[in-house]
């Protein structure tokens, strides 16, 4: 477990850099996490994906299948990797504050 300080907020991350508690997520936390994932600045398209992932997770309690991400955002997989170099699960979901996915990933 490690802690990061974003503004006045102290946020706990697991060793893989995922939020321990997704409710601690803020826009500033997302900007901070983006830097750790080799993204200079979050643009409009990044936010489209991040907001989609947060809404989906709030509703269903899990990350969406990649198929759903693509259909619902209109991005293809290549585009997702351009936006989030670590990919949908380890990049986009991490910045959106979702917990580390279970399984061999």
């Amino acid at each position: 477990m490690s802690q990061i300080t974003v503004g006045d907020l102290v946020v706990e991350l697991d060793e893989d850099g995922f939020l321990e508690d997704h409710k601690q997520w803020t826009v500033d936390v997302a900007n901070y996490l983006a830097k750790t994932e080799e993204i200079e600045e979050l643009g409009e398209e990044h936010w489209k994906m991040i907001n989609y992932l947060r809404e989906y997770f709030d509703q269903f309690g899990v990350a969406p299948m990649v198929r759903k991400m693509c259909k619902d955002t209109g991005f293809d997989q290549k585009k997702i990797y351009e936006l989030f170099p670590a990919g949908p699960g380890k990049g986009a979901c991490k910045i959106a504050g979702l917990p580390k996915p279970t399984g061999c990933v």
């Binding site: 477990m1 697991d14 060793e15 893989d16 995922f18 080799e38 899990v62 299948m65 990649v66 198929r67 759903k68 693509c70 259909k71 209109g74 991005f75 293809d76 997989q77 290549k78 670590a86 990919g87 949908p88 699960g89 580390k100 996915p101 279970t102 399984g103 061999c104 990933v105």
Partner: protein, 412 residues
């Protein structure tokens, strides 16, 4: 100096108990020579990583010390120590036996086993999501191949092989599965994928719980019996391959069915001229990792070399390689335990040195578990390399006829 050994507190039943779990496997021939510790590449890198100390505790009957030894979960079960052992003592098997005695394994490990037993795959992918993802991959391939009639052969009886993979290829990396199915198509493979049982992984290879191990793998074999393929081919995932083979060897009592690794069938196809490759399409220098489960433990060594030498122009071997290879540092299920991250990056260092010494720009990592560790080390040690599965390099080298005047490939 450490504490003296208190003879009165020793429990001679421990050794027999462990031998019992291991089906009477006798490790009492250990000479205490310490070659295991010399072979363990990590024994000098951090605390609580000394196989010799561990096996002495077991042999002497230091029950409490052995059961609570952090070594049990620190060990990546890579069997590098066993290669050096003059008596062939399998330390990883003893490690696994102790893991099986732990009530709740760390991190996500038990969640993965529970999800697999409950849903039939380790990531809890629901049936509708599985089918819809396959349909989607089919659509993507129809566009890529410019062939609207392309179909993924589902539940086809009596095929040459049933392809089994890792839930992550459905849940997180469908592009990887698309790549593999593209190669199958190019080779005109006569295969099938089951709509019911398809996840060949079995995390109990690492948790040591044999009952759950069987509960997870048996339905896959029952499905194979129903579809009656000539063999099972397992994706580029060392633990899925090893656990599927191990179940076939030790537990399956139905009709025998061979289990092979995907790199073996790629090698066959290249030899038979079914898979035509142009290696000038891959000019960047490539090195390749030998996943412990595939290479050291299951002995698959030549096929992936035959494939890669026909796939890339500039192949560079790591040193050491083959059965003497150095583990990626994340074996034994370590990736499913977030708390191991720091230790994983310490363990990665010898691998990093090997990679850098080759001067290669691409690391071919034919294992889903290993490739995550390589991507982490690439970032942590700022290597600036690219990590790829073998299938991706093969796909890039494919020679195939795709009509040029057909409609443009659609995105997504």
């Amino acid at each position: 100096m450490g504490e003296p050994i208190r003879v009165k507190s020793l429990d001679p039943t421990l050794r027999h108990e462990i031998a019992g779990i291991l089906k009477k496997y006798d490790f009492s021939n250990c000479l205490t020579c310490g070659m295991c510790t010399a072979g363990c590449i990590y024994s000098d890198l951090h605390e609580d990583q000394d196989p010799r100390k561990f096996i002495r505790k077991v042999a002497l009957g230091m029950r409490e010390e052995a059961e609570n030894d952090p070594f049990v979960w620190n060990c990546t079960m890579c069997e590098r120590c066993t290669v050096e052992c003059p008596m062939g003592v399998n330390i990883a098997a003893i490690t696994r036996a102790f893991r099986g005695k732990t009530p709740v394994p760390p991190g996500h490990l038990q969640v993965i086993a529970d999800d697999h037993i409950r849903t039939g795959n380790q990531m809890g992918v629901e049936q509708i999501d599985y089918i819809e993802t396959l349909e989607w991959i089919e659509e993507l391939l129809q566009a890529q191949l410019k062939d609207p009639s392309y179909k993924i052969p589902l539940d086809k009886p009596n095929a040459d092989f049933m392809f089994c993979f890792n839930a992550r290829e459905i849940k997180h990396y469908p592009a990887d599965l698309q790549t593999i199915l593209h190669v199958f198509h190019a080779a005109k493979a006569n295969y099938t994928i089951s709509t019911k049982r398809w996840d060949a992984t079995n995390i109990c290879l690492f948790t040591g719980k044999d009952d759950e191990f069987c509960e997870i793998s048996r339905p896959l074999f029952e499905e194979a019996q129903r579809l009656n393929p000539k063999e099972i081919i397992v994706t580029e995932c060392g633990h899925a391959f090893r656990s599927t083979r191990q179940f076939a060897r030790n537990y399956w009592d139905g009709k025998p069915i061979p289990v092979r690794h995907i790199v073996e069938i790629y090698a066959d196809w290249i030899k038979e001229g079914k898979l035509k490759l142009d290696k000038t399409k891959n000019t960047v220098p490539v090195t390749m990792h030998d996943p412990c489960n595939t290479v050291r433990k299951e002995g698959v060594y030549e096929p992936q070399r035959y494939v890669i030498k026909n796939t890339v122009m500039d192949y560079r071997e790591m040193n050491p390689e083959g059965k003497y290879n150095i583990c990626c540092g994340a074996g034994g299920g370590a990736l499913a335990v977030a708390a191991t991250k720091q230790m994983r990056m310490i363990k990665a260092k010898p691998k990093v040195d090997q990679l850098v010494a080759t001067g290669a720009k691409i690391g071919c990592i034919p294992c889903h578990n290993c490739i995550d560790q390589f991507n982490d080390m690439n970032k942590f040690y700022k290597l600036g390399m690219k990590m790829e599965h073998l299938s991706a390099l093969v796909e890039n080298a494919l020679i195939e006829d795709i009509p040029e005047d057909a409609p443009e490939e659609t995105s997504n």
